[in-house]
Amino acid sequence: MVGSTYRQGGILTLRYVLLAAGGVVMALPFVYMFSTSLKAHAYVFEIPPRLIPKEPTFANYQSAWSSNSFDRYFLNSVIVASATTVISVVLSSMMAFAFARYEFWGRRLLFGLLLIGLMVPTMMLIIPQFLLARTLGLMDSLSGLVLFYVGGTLALNTFLLRGFFENIPKELDEAMIVDGARAWTRFRRLFLPLSKPALATVAIFSFLASWDEFVWALTVINDPDKRTLPIAIALFQGEHATSWGLVFAASVIAVVPVILVFVTFQRHFVGGLTAGAVKG
């Protein structure tokens, strides 16, 4: 190609300089959050602000975890996000199997309805969903959260999994049919094992969506014992406006699992995100 090695090297350096400059902007708020979480209350509004705390302490973490019930909220979030993930992945993979491998009456209509669910802004439905939760007696309950989170994640998960299932060669189905395998056997023994990457993708999406969800939980949960991490953090900040050290200790507790999940599975994540967005 054109350009000497010298010039290529210069361009690569320029790339790094620009990327690093942007990277500092991306990272700095996180660094400052972590550093504030290590500061005693007296240093939170210190001038000039310090990126590296003068006397770092984990007192905020201890206080958040034990005396401010964030152990409880963490457990609630784990229960809700795990249950949502398992149920949503099972139900959406079954639906995706039906859409990918069968022709049946109403197929296009049902899939179209699913796509509507993909496009409607979730906030739009919060009023009727609130009335529904009240009618079903699902206010103030973690299982109520799970039901609505599952409903909210099904459309996207089914859509992504159907795309993956359709690419599984039909010859494999046919071989199993010849051996006498029924639909459920093919679904369990063929489609699920072959779709592990896609299943991982939708599992991560579902987990993160329900782990981070805020508005619905804020609307239907009043019992302090049932709070999940996002509403617990927001309400805590509302009640203790200046306890930023504690707020950010709780935030770090909420964010670290997300970062771990993302860094571990980021390949699956990117694959799922760009499916459908990019042609070719």
């Binding site: 942007g22 001038i47 602000p49 079954m94 009023i127 782990w211 991490l229 927001a234 042609k279």
Partner: protein, 326 residues
Amino acid sequence: MINSSSAASDSTSPPHDAASPAASRARWLFGERRRPLFTPYLFLAPGFFVFALVMLYPIVRALQISFYEWSILPTAESVFVKFANYERALHDAVFWRGLVNTAAYMVATVPTQIVLGLIVAVLLDTRMPARTFFRVLYYLPVITSWVVVSLLFKYLFSSDAGFVNWVLHDGVGVLDHDVAWLQSRWTALAVVSVLGVWKGVGWSMIIFLAALQTVPKDLHEAAAIDGAGAFRRFRHVSLPAIWPTLLFVTVMLVIGGFNVFISIFLITGGGPAEETEVLLTYMYRQAFDFLDFGYGSSIAFLLTGIVFTLSLLQLRFLRRPTEFRA
């Protein structure tokens, strides 16, 4: 993107055997016929039931509620008021301010995220060490909860001893005084927009990066041999190739912009004096502070209508890249 035409069907017949009538009926209902009657429905039933209950039914219900003076108590009667809630919105100054604020947020954040996301994607679209590191770093804000980053920015931009004021005033010296960012309309919206861009740029970057990687390398090489510089290669080779992706990202960001809620809700709460209210914060307050479900639903439907219309217009007018490049 959506391929609903390629219907899959089992083309092979199961091995034929002369079984009992009951067995053959069972096979007709559940078995491997070309059109098994029940099997697909059995796979669909549990998931679709949940979906219909918590998504489809509420859509219909939302439309219904928006035509009522809705009573919160199950015992009291709700009054059918036709379009009164919609008319009320059109004469409500705060609704219009919310619409303007939402539009301002969109104008500030959508082009910025596209341009910055594209720049970062182009910078990362090469074989280089630490590529994954940068990709993860830029993507971190996307996966971090809105609650956490909203509170974080509220703290960074706070007027008493806030980090940003310190940097701009005492550090770089751009400002000669501390700014009360969250105390007035446009500075508060600026803060929320900065947050929106910071949180969102990683998403458009990831999508653009995936699209750029599908651009054939030999096209670039051919253009380079013809003497095209990096910028011209980007404009005439990469840009047309990723045009559908650009369109997709634009539509998604516009929809996302109209759905701005948590950041406003937690950073300004719509204040001071309803100055920074956006459509969704106003809708939420009408519904859950004033318990006016009918009015809240009509605002939600107006918002959805605007979003759908804008998406369709964008798809219609941005479709052909040749028009854009002319």
